[in-house]
């Protein structure tokens, strides 16, 4: 199933009249991994919420061949997996397993299918041991991965993650990266974590003040210090872009080996 994203001239104002998005154009092909970069308040989260119709601005939004409208909401939410920034917002059921089952149950699947989906989603994020545990007993990294499992269980074709590496320690961040690298879905993630974007995404988009100000290969975007400074982005001190390794997507022509970005 294709899951191209086409956003054309999307504008959105907050209820208090402030403009959050001012004519955003965004086109993502099936299977791409795209990082949406930008300072706080740039409109990254707002853009994300449009992709499965949680917010409705003016302009066109088409995801996986579906135009966002009231009629397509149900279908849309099955195809677009949204992972929110704070996993405590996403994990609301008493146990992780119940939470992962929530989405598939909403889709009206058979009990056996639901069980398979839950198990597979937990395995995909390496949380198969935690099905019976309550979310409040998990570490931040585990909560984040459990939150990803909750949407994987709905078998989305597009995965949208909001600040996936926020407030993770280096080990939890590494584990998250390992999980994300293995996913086959089209991936869209918002982040300030430029090394994460470099390692995971072949393409990056810079969003500032509700507008797309740059769109191109991640290594080119991150190699443009003037662009980064102009939009309050910064690579960690001493960071060497040439040494970043990006693992090839599962199933891509390059196979599963690691590709050096700039050999």
């Amino acid at each position: 199933m294709s899951c191209a994203v086409h956003v054309k001239g999307l504008s959105y104002e907050y209820p208090d009249g402030r403009a959050a998005l001012r004519g955003v154009d965004l086109h993502v092909r099936h299977g791409e991994r795209v990082a949406i970069l930008g300072p706080n308040g740039a409109g990254k989260t707002t853009l994300m919420l449009h992709l499965n119709g949680l917010l409705r601005g003016t302009g066109e939004v088409e995801v996986a061949g579906l135009t966002v409208s009231k009629r397509t909401l149900r279908e849309l939410r099955a195809r677009v997996g949204l992972v929110f920034q704070d996993p405590d917002d996403q994990l609301f059921m008493p146990t992780v397993g119940e939470d992962v089952a929530f989405g598939p149950r909403n889709l009206g699947l058979q009990v056996a299918t639901i069980e398979t989906r839950v198990r597979e989603a937990l395995v995909a994020v390496r949380m198969e041991h935690a099905a019976e545990r309550p979310p409040h007993g998990l570490s931040m990294g585990e909560r984040r991965r459990a939150a990803i499992a909750t949407v994987l269980a709905m078998a989305p074709t597009l995965l949208v993650l909001d600040e996936p590496s926020a407030s993770l320690d280096p080990r939890a961040r590494r584990e998250l990266l390992d999980v994300l690298e293995r996913l086959e879905q089209t991936l869209l993630l918002t982040t300030h974590d430029l090394p994460l974007a470099a390692e995971l995404c072949e393409r990056a988009i810079v969003l500032d003040a509700g507008r797309v100000v740059a769109d191109g290969p991640t290594d080119e975007i991150l190699a443009d210090p003037g662009l980064l400074v102009a939009h309050d982005l910064e690579l960690p001190a001493g960071f060497d872009l040439n040494r970043i390794e990006r693992r090839a997507r599962p199933g891509s022509p390059q196979g599963v080996g690691r590709v050096l970005m700039d050999p």
């Binding site: 919420l49 499965n52 949680l54 149900r74 939410r77 099955a78 677009v80 949204l82 929110f84 704070d86 405590d88 917002d89 996403q90 994990l91 609301f92 059921m93 008493p94 146990t95 119940e98 089952a101 929530f102 989405g103 149950r105 909403n106 889709l107 009206g108 009990v111 639901i114 069980e115 309550p134 979310p135 409040h136 909750t150 949407v151 709905m154």
Partner: protein
């Protein structure tokens, strides 16, 4: 804060998780404890054998589930303490029946009966709730309620309360730490204003949290009705437990009224 965290530690499983009682279907336990409580609450004080039977069954459950009496006592204390504090005043204010002088105060028989009734019924009710909590994980209780056809919206509200209680307790902890880190140490009531603002901030944060949780639920296809959970399996042992409790208490309750 200290109190909240204390309260949270006092929930959860206790006793031997492999005991017969722990392994019962949660619905059987909900029904059994509900039956005990209803029978006890419906019986007036003069039908004391009914209450004695309820206590005996509960004591049997404590022993079977190997819940330490100390755990029961620690969990019962906050509830019973509050109830008894209020009930103790009743004999002094409720008039009727024989009156007894107690120093400068007068105690009335009608009031004493109320005190006795409240004490006994509160004990049985509290004990039932504590034992249900000690032998059944909270998610299983929720599953049981759903299995017993309690409206799903109510079950969802209970689930959300349970889930976010922990989040809110953490949040309060961080906010208090924030106050303490900046030297907040109220010595007089005048300093309590900051706590009021803390409460207001907490309310706003919780409200914002509610909106975000709702959004996250919608994103996973929630359409206002909670999807059904996986059905539970009600076994022979479960039926035996509920059957035994009802078979013991209901005839006794009826007989006690007739005699």
């Amino acid at each position: 804060m200290a109190f909240c965290q204390h309260a949270l530690e006092m929930t959860g499983l206790a006793g031997d998780p492999a005991s017969q009682i722990h392994r019962l279907d949660p619905r059987a336990k909900v029904l059994g404890f509900l039956a005990i409580t209803l029978v006890a609450v419906s019986a007036p004080l003069e039908l004391w054998p009914v209450h004695a039977a309820c206590m005996a069954i509960l004591a049997g459950i404590v022993a079977t589930a190997r819940v330490a009496p100390r755990t029961v006592w620690r969990r019962a204390r906050p509830v019973l303490g509050l109830v008894l504090l209020v009930a103790l005043l009743v004999p002094f204010v409720r008039h009727g029946g024989a009156a007894y002088a107690l120093g400068p105060l007068t105690v009335h028989e009608a009031g004493l009966i109320v005190l006795g009734t409240v004490t006994v019924k509160a004990m049985i009710g509290t004990l039932s709730a504590i034992l249900l909590g000690a032998t059944t994980a909270f998610p299983a209780v929720l599953g049981a309620l759903e299995g017993l056809r309690v409206p799903r919206l109510l079950v969802l509200i209970a689930a959300l309360m349970y889930r976010y209680l922990f989040v809110i307790v953490e949040e309060v902890g961080r906010m208090r730490a924030g106050l303490a880190a900046r030297g907040y140490r109220p010595r007089t009531g005048l300093g309590a204003g900051a706590l009021g603002r803390l409460a207001a901030a907490l309310f706003l944060r919780t409200y914002g949290r509610g909106e975000r949780v709702h959004r996250a639920m919608l994103a996973r296809g929630y359409d206002g009705t909670m999807p059904a959970a996986t059905p539970l399996a009600f076994g022979r042992l479960d039926a035996a437990f509920v059957g035994a409790v009802i078979a013991l208490l209901v005839p006794l309750r009826v007989a006690a009224t007739l005699l």
